[in-house]
Amino acid sequence: MTLTSTFSLDWLFAALIIFIGAYCMVLTRNLIKQLIGLEIISKGVMIAIISSGAMSGNTNLAQAIIITVILVEAVIVATGLALLVKGYRLNENIDVKKLDNLRG
């Protein structure tokens, strides 16, 4: 199987976006920014899926998958934001480094 040039460009782009998201997660201590980083990662993953669907001539399947993944992601992000709000009410901050009460 030979890789067409657009396909490899797509994957380079996807990898770049995933890296940006990971960088965002590593760099910040703010929980909301970490959630944004996670979102960016999953956007990169979606580009990977759609481009591989186009590559293998399976666009319909890839589109169906993408739509379902968007749905799943919305659910997860909603749950995550709800957790952040609840955590903010109890702890009064959204700093990752302050999440260290659990120790053996």
Partner: protein
């Protein structure tokens, strides 16, 4: 999806929808409804498994494998014992109208995961399971629960991203996402896809380099929820997929060892790390969490041998782990309720006041460590045999040695918590109520019976797997 077993995932979902409406009238109805739903499912499954006519026909009428049916049985068993226990475990101020539907939805998600036949539905139901787990961990108004849930979210979301990358590669390398890929002449891209997927599920299962979230999640969650998480949720959401992929790799020829040998290394590292970290813990629940990590190491090492005996050992150890770890976590919940703490330095000599809890813990501990008549011995024996046959010899020896370390840290736990002289402030501690002891006693009976009648269990899997 295996359609004939679909009702096991749909009926809990319907119950989850119905419970909040009944809950407006009275809490009693929600409790009865959730117990009855799970009990009915368990009864049905037991009818399928123990039906003598199936045995007579050598299980030829089965259109599903023994692994699926065993996982369904385990899910319903653990969920039923957790629900029954929490009906009588009145601690904390969480909303029961939210708790029972969440348990039901996660039972449904786990059953669907077990019944799915392609990677994408596996992923979808894993995410559904993860969302219910976040909510279950955080269902108490406590700082620790929220912290555990946020850690679980942030550290397992990258796992989903990895699994999706694996799916993307699988899509262009293989064209479809079904499990029955044309395995005989699989291209290297298929292997890299499987490697990404395995890595994602390894994070979900809490294997060694990715274990950070596991102890925190188990310690921070409410007592019954941590039993549920450790008993079945993380096992199905991570370990089930890894074992499934190992059964796929088994037929892919020698090239599959490129995935399975690093996986085996991860497994052995996990069992070593988990045992050593468990020795140093001061908290009952946290020690159980590290012990759970170590047992996951055994399961992965067994499955990654790609040997029929190793995979059978891994499957049986998954079931045994569900029984003994659930009973230990439920005992820790009973202790938390009676004595008010799970810190091992503050506990001592509870044996006199809580004899049943103490002796059920002893049975579960002996099964974890692998003492002969109990069920844990057989699965560990199969795993170590498979490691001896199909892996470098030091792996089998290390697995054997760290099985003794398991006994060591659990004896430390038993000595600190149950034996010795009771402290002054613990003299008034009472035994948990009879109803709270029933699930634990049933689990211990299963451990003993499936250990003693192991030849029948083995025969069942020999014919159906």
């Amino acid at each position: 999806m295996t359609t004939e077993l679909l009702s096991y995932s749909i009926i809990p979902l319907l119950a989850a929808l119905a419970i909040p409406f009944f809950g407006r009238r009275s809490f009693k109805l929600t409790e009865i409804l959730s117990n009855v739903t799970l009990l009915a499912g368990l009864g049905n499954l037991m009818f399928i498994i123990f039906n003598p006519s199936n045995k007579l026909h050598n299980y030829e009428t089965f259109s599903f494998d023994g692994f699926t049916i065993l996982m369904l049985f385990t899910i319903y068993l653990v969920a039923l014992s957790i629900v029954f226990f929490s009906t009588f475990f009145k601690v904390g101020d969480f909303n029961k109208n939210a708790f029972y539907p969440l348990i039901m939805i996660s039972v449904s998600a786990m059953s669907s995961m077990v019944l799915s036949v392609d990677f994408f539905s596996l992923y979808i139901f894993m995410e559904a399971l993860a969302v219910t787990s976040f909510a279950l961990i955080a269902c108490e108004e406590k700082k620790s629960g929220i912290e555990a849930a946020i850690k679980y979210l942030l550290l397992t979301f990258p796992a989903s991203a990895l699994i999706l990358i694996g799916l993307a590669i699988m899509l262009f390398a293989n064209g479809s996402l079904y499990f029955d890929i044309s395995m005989q002449n699989a291209s290297p891209a298929v292997f890299s896809a499987l490697a990404f997927i395995v890595l994602g599920f390894a994070i979900k299962a809490g294997l060694f380099p990715f274990h950070f979230w596991t102890p925190d999640a188990y310690q921070g969650a409410p007592a019954t929820v941590s039993a549920y998480l450790a008993g079945i949720v993380t096992k199905v959401s991570g370990m089930y997929a890894i074992i499934k992929i190992c059964t796929l790799l088994k037929v892919m020829g020698p090239a599959s060892f490129k995935i399975s040998s690093p996986l085996m290394l991860i497994g052995v590292a996990t069992l070593i790390f988990g045992s050593i970290a468990a020795l140093a813990q001061k908290d009952f629940k946290r020690m159980l969490a590290f012990s759970s990590i170590s047992q996951m190491g055994y399961i992965v090492a067994g499955a990654a041998t790609l040997n029929p005996i190793g995979i059978l050992g891994a499957i049986l150890h998954l079931f045994n782990h569900a029984t003994f770890k659930t009973s230990l976590f439920l005992n820790s919940a009973a202790i938390e309720k009676s004595a008010g703490t799970t810190n091992m330095k503050k506990l001592s000599g509870l044996e006199k006041n809580m004899p049943v809890t103490s002796w059920t813990s002893v049975i579960a501990i002996f099964s974890t460590a692998g003492l002969p008549p109990l069920s844990g011995f057989w699965s560990k024996l199969l795993i170590i045999l498979a490691l001896w046959v199909a892996a470098p010899k030091p792996y089998a020896i290390l697995a054997l040695i760290f099985s003794i370390v398991t006994l060591a840290y659990f004896m430390l736990l038993q000595k600190n918590v149950f034996f010795g002289k009771p402290k002054e402030e613990l003299k008034e501690v009472k035994e948990a109520s009879v109803y709270m002891l029933i699930p634990v006693i049933v689990m211990c009976l299963i451990i003993v019976v499936s250990g003693i009648f192991f030849p029948f269990v083995f025969e069942f899997f020999e014919k159906t797997l």
